[in-house]
Symmetry: C2
Subunit: 435 residues, 2 copies
């Protein structure tokens, strides 16, 4: 019986998900692949033993034992973070092992180094699980949409942030309360910054852009804003305007330049992305041949991520069995055809905007604000002023027509410097119907 032997580094939630998947799907994979996919060894610094069904699996605290194990074909890195993950992945590659990882943070920062090392050692790097959890988004983009220029990528790529926004939308609960609830339920990390400040979404967008456009996109290339300053009142206004607020990753391909941004966005309810709720993720591509495609599923979790990691293991396993390693280039384009991106500056962005300005309710305030917008050539579409209690600051909500980001930032700086403004102005970019 032919075998594909897997060494797993990290027996946390996702690691256990992979182990369980390979255990439960053993017969099915045999009937599809014609070979056994075997979890041979696990390296974990804290696990003292493995659950009973894995009694045949060797356990070590030292990942080097996996690199040195000549039987192991594929090393799966599921510890996450930068170090020692980076060292482990490079060590595995240097030992001639194929690598599968779900580590979006690592790839969005050290991807270039890792993929170049893989090419030099003629091994594969699979990373389906790094974006969209169990959704086969990387394979679809690299292979299913191979005959497309990707014009745009838009997505909801962080389940925790989407869960929080969904709860805020459905129940009117403030951000802090929902976050606390999500943390208690184990959805959100103790340090939620990666999820709610958009950083995790940015990691994922960098990976998708790299594949979609054939450019090494780095985390730092993407403008990132989170959802922690979104208030229930913003969600209420969004509803009045026929929108829902979502944390979107957005990238567009303009000639030579790439647009790349992650931020809360008002999405018209008629748009598919407005209707992605709870912990689900969805990634929307526009390709010049295929038109619009959207892929939807659970963006995280033990078993969905296990499904994606197992798919990578099988994919590489098939290449080992067929001697067709690197049959599909890791980053879609052949390594020699991948260049550096030119990112269009955020200041050049144009779109409609929502502004919530908090100011004392004094005569002339609105005229002053309107004057500032006018000076910066921002055309106002509508103004709503809610609840009028004397002396209390009021929320002045302004929707603009399509405006320029640089002008918007200059306007906000002037508005926030007004004596009557008591809080920083919140701006939310609006997705138009046809996007």
């Amino acid at each position: 019986m032919k075998q594909i032997q897997v060494g797993l580094i990290g027996f946390g939630t996702v690691g256990r998900g992979l182990a369980q998947t390979l255990y439960e799907q053993k017969d099915r994979l045999l009937r599809k692949v014609g070979a056994e996919v075997v979890l041979a060894q696990v390296a974990d610094t804290s696990a003292e033993s493995l659950p009973e069904q894995f009694s045949d699996v060797k356990l070590t605290k030292d990942a080097n034992e996996i690199f040195a194990n000549p039987d192991i074909d594929i090393v799966v890195e599921l510890i996450g973070g930068m170090e020692p993950a980076r060292t482990f992945v490079l060590e595995a590659i240097n030992h001639g092992k194929h690598v599968v990882t779900a580590n979006k943070a690592l790839l969005s920062v050290h991807g270039k180094e890792i993929f170049e090392a893989a090419v030099a050692n003629n091994v594969e790097v699979g990373f389906e699980a790094s974006v969209g959890g169990g959704i086969p988004v990387i394979k679809s983009l690299k292979e299913g949409l191979v005959a497309n220029r990707i014009n745009s990528i838009m997505g909801i790529m962080n389940g925790t942030a989407n869960y929080i926004l969904t709860k805020m939308t459905d129940h009117g609960v403030p951000f802090d309360e929902v976050l606390k609830d999500a943390q208690e339920q184990g959805f959100a990390e103790a340090d939620p910054a990666y999820d709610v400040e958009g950083i995790d979404t940015t990691h994922k967008l960098a990976i998708l852009m790299t594949i979609a456009y054939g450019k090494h996109v780095h985390l730092d290339d993407i403008n990132t804003e989170g959802i922690s300053n979104i208030k229930p009142i913003d969600i209420e206004f969004a509803r009045e305007f026929g929108c829902r607020i979502k944390l979107l990753a957005i990238s567009r391909h303009h000639g030579e330049y790439l647009e790349a941004r992650v931020h809360p966005t008002m999405v018209p309810t008629s748009h598919m992305l407005a209707n992605i709720n709870g912990a689900y993720n969805a990634i929307h591509f526009n390709g010049d041949t295929v038109g619009n495609v959207l892929l939807y599923g659970l963006g995280a979790g033990m078993m969905p991520t296990g499904s994606a990691v197992a798919a990578d293991v099988v994919d590489i396993g098939r290449n080992i069995l067929c001697s067709s390693v690197n049959r599909v280039p890791a980053l879609s384009y052949l390594p020699e055809n991948i260049g550096s991106p030119k990112i269009s500056p955020m200041s050049e962005l144009t779109c409609p905007y929502y502004f919530r300005i908090t100011a004392l309710d004094k005569p002339g305030v609105l005229a002053t604000i309107a004057g500032i917008f006018n000076k910066h050539a921002i055309s106002i579409k509508s103004v709503i002023q809610k609840s009028r209690h004397e002396l209390d600051p009021v929320s002045i909500v302004i929707l603009s027509h399509t405006a320029n980001e640089a002008a918007v930032q200059a306007s906000i700086a002037e508005i926030d410097a007004l004596d009557v403004c008591t809080e920083k102005t919140v701006k939310i970019r609006i997705l138009t119907d046809d996007e």
Copy 2:
């Protein structure tokens, strides 16, 4: 320069879409695959010449010239229908050519014969474009979800039917009018039966079931009902019940047995499938590892279908270049592991139902109908009787709790036999929230 040479049979809409895709994406494919993907020859019985950009492409009226052309690696069949498509596909296979086809009708009837011939001749058969147009659904199911038992398949797989239902829903226009409009716009065929009677959807479900479950599912295994008897009044009632009517393909995996049906369905608006509008398709899988996954895009059309056909051509081309033909079995499971399906009889289905009974407005009618349902152990959830003009027949709409299909059919037979009933009762099955 390495080349993959393609012979195309059929230069209709989809054929031209493939030709244009390979032409427009030539450089992109070269930068990804490292080889030229070349349209070498076209066979079409009616084309007298090819557009100017294809001046290097040989044109013939005789498909046999393509089979006999030793330079051609892959034959793409895009004429559709049963014959001569079946003969051409088998001839190509017997000549040792790989085949790509978008022909769902052919595969759902003659798939077993074709795939067995391909195995015997060690060639590949690609059919991504046969389901969901440009959506990479076949690849996702075979590869992305490889480590899953597929528990269920649900989908909107016919853009014409979905376009008609969407128009009826949004504008309250009767079926016949929307159909006529769709035909005039070129969306719907002159003979719309395949689209509106669910046959095309059934073809596609048979293909997905075969791959998902590893059983040779035939068109005849699937219970098929169309949308031609849906009236605006049904759509109005659906709206009142928080649902939209969609033509769904539904299959579930119950132990040894497979459920398989295509029919109009009331889908709660909270469900993703209720929000797939116009000519779009969406296919929803539930896998035991991954949970719910949905894939969305244009289910038909020249370029989306061209995108999927080109993806198959590239996939097979890569296997030719790497000498890894049949690296992934055509039907996901290895040929020796594919069996015959056991289909659970439609009579065993249980779900909630919507009934629209047309009867004369006479005393005691409702009591009689309620008595019939009661006799067959069908529990009524609600009754609505609309508009009461004396002598005119009225529409009595009844929602049932979960009921058994055999009992439903027996009840309808009795109800329709009543003297007071003036039209055949319309039943629409209801999808529950958790499905």
